[in-house]
Symmetry: C2
């Protein structure tokens, strides 16, 4: 079967959005190996941000993540925050992508996240042995990059301006949802009671 | 409707197992409020261990957790590790119970866990503002109690001998599954390659 995207295909925003939305297990059927090999760090970060956009469009928190096999460049897991969509107090972009990947050896993978990880996710990332984490936004949040590096994870910063603008817009629009996602509903109630 | 368990009912192992297995949202329909009010810390810990037993019987890691509202004594969330059952590299007892509870204010709740939390879960527990954590096993794992106390969480140790024996049996039976659950598949592969 001819794949939807192959070596001759242009790497367009539409192609990356299709990858963001398609089920992970369907990607090897629909996208050729050499198309995936042609994707850069910036392209994978775009996919993470397009997952963040998907979450925002569903009324959720705009944070997405993609996990890529270091040699094949296949996407082995991806996802976005589901606080609103699954009524889940802790399913961040990173945990969503890790859950999607399943029981694999993460030491040969790179995780691209549209936003700097929270301390829970950063701890999970080094404990699951990821070799590299690429962060798309250290403007709206930052700090756990130090922890990750101390634990031997390679961390690269690759600011995605669209992702940064999207998160800043979300935070100004829904500050309580943003706070709940980081610190839980008790933090929101404490703030209201101040 | 007369409830399955009410004030006159004995608090038996069978009654606690029924609570462990029934869906959380069904509990207020099937169990009277005054039956729940009569349960002690040791009873809630038994429910957490019976959830661990359920997971073990399914081929999974025997770790369970229960979240209880401090005043009503209603169970607001419960669950067990699903590494095997959901092919999930990180859904521990605590995250499973937190996911089951949904977007609630955790500052008025107590979490009972059959095993001392890993550092990822301990971080999540203080970040979600739980008021109290009761740990049923500091024999097979320990250490994060200090972190939780430093962050203002009340920690009580209530060793459950059946839970401790169950986890020790699991660890000796499936040491690689135990290691994967704590540190990921990369740690298992590194150990094999030593």
């Amino acid at each position: 079967m001819k794949t939807l995207l192959n070596k001759q295909s242009q790497i367009t925003e539409q192609a990356l959005a299709a990858i963001a939305h398609m089920p992970t297990k369907s990607l090897p059927v629909l996208i050729s190996d050499d198309f995936m090999q042609g994707l850069t760090d910036a392209d994978f970060m775009r996919i993470a941000v397009l997952l963040a956009q998907k979450s925002y469009d569903e009324g959720g928190c705009p944070i997405g993540a993609v996990i890529v096999d270091n040699s094949s460049k296949q996407i082995v897991g991806k996802g976005h925050n589901t606080l609103v969509q699954d009524n889940h107090p802790y399913n961040h972009g990173e945990t969503s992508a890790i859950g999607d990947a399943g029981r694999i050896d993460f030491s040969k993978t790179t995780l691209y996240t549209s936003l700097s990880p929270c301390v829970v996710c950063a701890t999970l990332l080094y404990m699951r042995g990821l070799s590299r984490v690429v962060v798309g936004d250290i403007t709206n949040a930052c700090g756990t990059e130090t922890l990750l590096r101390e634990k031997g994870v390679q961390v690269d910063i690759l600011q995605d301006q669209q992702g940064i603008a999207l998160y800043a817009h979300f935070r100004s629009e829904k500050p309580e949802q943003d706070l709940e996602d980081w610190q839980g509903l008790s933090a929101v109630k404490n703030k209201i009671n101040l």
